[in-house]
Amino acid sequence: MSAIFRSLDEALAGIGDGAMLVVPPEYGGVAMEATRALIRRGLRDLHLVTLPASSLQADLLIGAGAVATIETSAVSLGEFGPAPRFAAAVTSGKIRIKDATCPAIHAALQAAEKGVPFMPLRGLVGSDLVARRPDWRVIDNPFAARDPIVLLPAIRPDVALFHAPMADRNGNVWIGRRRELATMAHAAAKTVVTVERIHDGDLLATEASAAGVLPALYVEAVAAAPRGAWPLPLAGEYPRDEAHCAEYARLAATEEGFRRYLDRYVYARAAA
């Protein structure tokens, strides 16, 4: 079996304090078991990039004090309401926020994927987002007269972290149609993946299975973590744990409640 297979804690060793970490949206395969392990380890000062939005994962990391800066198009618990720890941290000034819009984060990671320093994007002109992002530039489209267009600098994360259904023994990871996971991995210096299971075969062997694969070339470490997206869903595998997400929203509404949540579901699981 490939040397990229590790225990969960070993796989996460490459995510250090201060790292720029990119993570997928709720429906894209969120490495929640890994997120709890990082919080137990006391990770600090993350520059968290969400591709493009996040829910429980970002709220949990922020509430636990692991995040210094977040670049995001939104953090929300969806049907379960606003993300309480995110909102509290932003209003109290505890974290720095770089407000973006979904396609801007996609495009900035595609710039890194393509090895170019920037990407153009339509929209945005005249929005207060541009006013609040001095790292974005508005230029005149060189191919037309008086046509303002925004250029976004490439985002080059230190680490991409996500959860997937499986990896084969060579370290090729099944991502299916969640192509943004490939973009994340291409854009990041290192990619750490947790998986439900190890596939005993070669995912690249047939055209049919190869179509949904992130090749091992881009993968630094893989760790098995069954139900590793819990309580979030994993497409084709299991749905969201609605009751748990409702409980989180209820508890995380207050700082004390959030501490109880951490004790019960993050720290206690390590002891168990």
Binding site: T72, E79, G123, G126, D147, R179
Partner: protein, 254 residues
């Protein structure tokens, strides 16, 4: 099983889905964001009635989502001119159709922080028919001027802007948006609501006809389809909504 209801009664959500059904008539492709159960109801109903047309993309659905190029495909597709309608909301919406999904108060030290702009700062510019949707119709939400412009309602000449708002749907009424004038116009009042009430609860100035019509209720046929055909589809993505509004609960988790 949908809970039985008194004959002819119709919930607010059903009325609003019927409004949206009319606003998306005849389109080729309707996309619905992650937190828009009422637009999703309308879009899935339109597809059922159209025997597979329009294409409907429910972004957080696995089953009702034909995108295969990852999260960027919605935005690429819209940039190509292939998304005909989308739905946006706002913590604040003002009379020029500017929307604010970011914060109330000073951006650097906000009183209230909203989730963030999502795709609005792009889709509002490039999707031809953007339908604004805000159930809570109050002076808190419909304001004279937003504190933060996530995306502007209109753009000056020279700015690439093939898209923009066409309507604002609330729990009290429907406004149409006039892009030339940059203003809303009251289109219809929902049953049981009055012009005075709307004037009282709207923080911005708007145009109106001399006599404001009533918003038509959904037909019994459409109501039956929402409750019987659409609700089970919705439950994949909006289980709480499907349960609360249509009384539909999934028997098994897939």
């Amino acid at each position: 099983m949908p809970a039985p209801r008194p004959d002819g009664a119709c919930r607010d959500e059903e009325l609003l889905a019927a409004v949206i059904l009319r606003l998306i008539a005849g389109l080729r492709h309707v996309a619905v964001g992650a937190q828009s159960p009422i637009p999703a109801t309308a879009a899935l109903l339109a597809r059922h009635l159209g025997k597979g047309q329009p294409f409907v993309s429910l972004l957080s659905s696995a089953r009702h989502n034909f995108f295969t190029d990852g999260g960027r495909e919605l935005f690429d597709c819209a940039g190509q001119g292939r998304v005909d309608a989308f739905f946006l909301s706002g913590g604040q919406i003002d009379g020029a159709a500017n929307i604010n999904l970011v914060a109330i108060g000073d951006y650097a030290a906000p009183q209230v922080r909203f989730p963030g702009s999502f795709g609005s700062a792009y889709l509002y510019y490039v999707v031809p028919r953007v339908i604004l949707f805000r159930l809570e119709h109050s002076r808190r939400t419909l304001v004279n001027k937003v504190d933060f412009i996530s995306a502007p309602g209109t753009s000056p000449p020279g700015v690439y802007r093939p898209g923009g708002p066409v309507a604002l749907v609330t729990n009290r009424c429907v406004f149409a948006f006039d892009r030339q004038r940059g203003r809303f116009r009251l289109e219809s009042l929902h049953p049981g609501h009055t012009l005075e009430e709307v004037l009282d609860h709207t923080g911005f100035d708007f145009d109106r006809p001399e006599r404001v019509p009533q918003t038509p209720s959904p037909s019994p046929e459409h109501l039956d389809l929402m409750r019987g055909v659409v609700a089970p589809l919705l439950a994949e993505v909006y289980p709480q909504f499907a349960a609360t509004v249509f009384g539909f609960t999934r028997q098994e988790q897939s």
